[in-house]
Subunit: 182 residues, 2 copies
DNA sequence: TAACCCATGTAAAAGGTTACATGATTTC
DNA sequence: GAAATCATGTAACCTTTTACATGGGTTA
């Protein structure tokens, strides 16, 4: 449901499917991702609907690129979506499922090891986001309206990942206290 | 990939597909959900694989219920999954996609309205989770190992939702400052 | 009597991942 | 000479949602 709108949003400037994939793997990674095999058909469909138009353009290396640009109709569709209420996320966190049932194999170490590993994963995510922040959004005052908003989303990612680290620490502390009490 | 393991985990005590659906809609809602049309076939499949066994049992009201219980093989499969590393979540947050591109329609109000609405949604989630906490996990010392771990997941949910509220507030503050500067 | 809860399922469609196919250019 | 990057796509499969089908009992 959201992917076509994200593609429209990313196409403020003309780009190819391959370019968009790199954006998903880079600065958008913390809130969305998509495979090339999903991106290409989605772009074709948006073109059929008149929201994008494409042109072949020769490439320096490899096959000809297909460069997409947004049409007026595409811009209208995007802006309509942007004016809607925040679309709630379908939360699916398998690691919380694991944590939820880890009580069943509690051998005095399993939960602790799991939480420490989880903490590491979140710490790594914070590091990645901070690198993106430093690289693309360093000088606050100079940001365009578009970059300002992109930066806000990175700030969201950082805040949430740091909160997850805090949740790991709290869980570890509770778990240790509980272990000592028995 | 994770759903069958979650069902196995939820079936520490015997239950029907309908019961499991209610659990997804209740205390598990903050990290997973599933429709009945996905749950029933998944249970059938787990039974074919010998990880569950089911018995029909008459119901007070309505049709006969099919009660599933975990087999030794099912328990083994679950515990193997629990001993794996934390399974990373596939993050897909459409609302951050909206926020990311809202710079395009900045009319002096759009972003602010969006962030305030988003904040409300997170506040509602915190309220729901706090209600669950008060209802099921009130007396810390008395919790069984299973309930203790379930409580940890709720704490994760609260911490992350509160961080999201903080991120909204930070974004609103930045956005106002930026508006005044221009 | 209408709406809702109980209870189980199937079918179709949409969204997403993995695997396959092709082929040029650059880097190690 | 092998691996990685550039570049586009199709096919098969898996996961998830929405819609359909059935029917008894309870509540407003």
């Amino acid at each position: 449901m959201s992917l076509p709108f994200l593609l429209l949003g990313m196409l403020r400037l003309p780009a190819t499917g391959y370019d968009l994939k790199k954006a998903f793997d880079g600065s958008l990674r913390h809130f969305w991702s998509a495979e090339l095999s999903q991106i290409y058909p989605a772009l074709q469909r948006l073109e059929e609907e008149g929201k994008l138009r494409s042109r072949r353009s020769p490439s320096d290396a490899g096959p000809a690129r297909r460069v997409y640009r947004r049409t007026a109709r595409g811009t209208r569709a995007l802006h309509d979506w942007l004016r809607e209420e925040p679309v709630p996320a379908a939360v699916r966190l398998p690691y919380l499922g694991q944590l939820c049932f880890l009580g069943e194999i509690e051998d005095g170490a399993a939960t602790g090891a799991f939480l420490r590993k989880l903490r590491e994963q979140f710490a790594e995510r914070v590091a990645v986001l901070r690198r993106i922040e430093a690289e693309w959004f360093a000088d606050e005052e100079q940001l365009s309206g578009e970059d300002f908003h992109a930066h806000l989303t990175v700030r969201f990612g950082v805040t949430r990942a740091e909160a997850s680290i805090a949740a790991c620490d709290e869980a570890l502390a509770r778990w240790k206290r509980r272990k000592e009490r028995r």
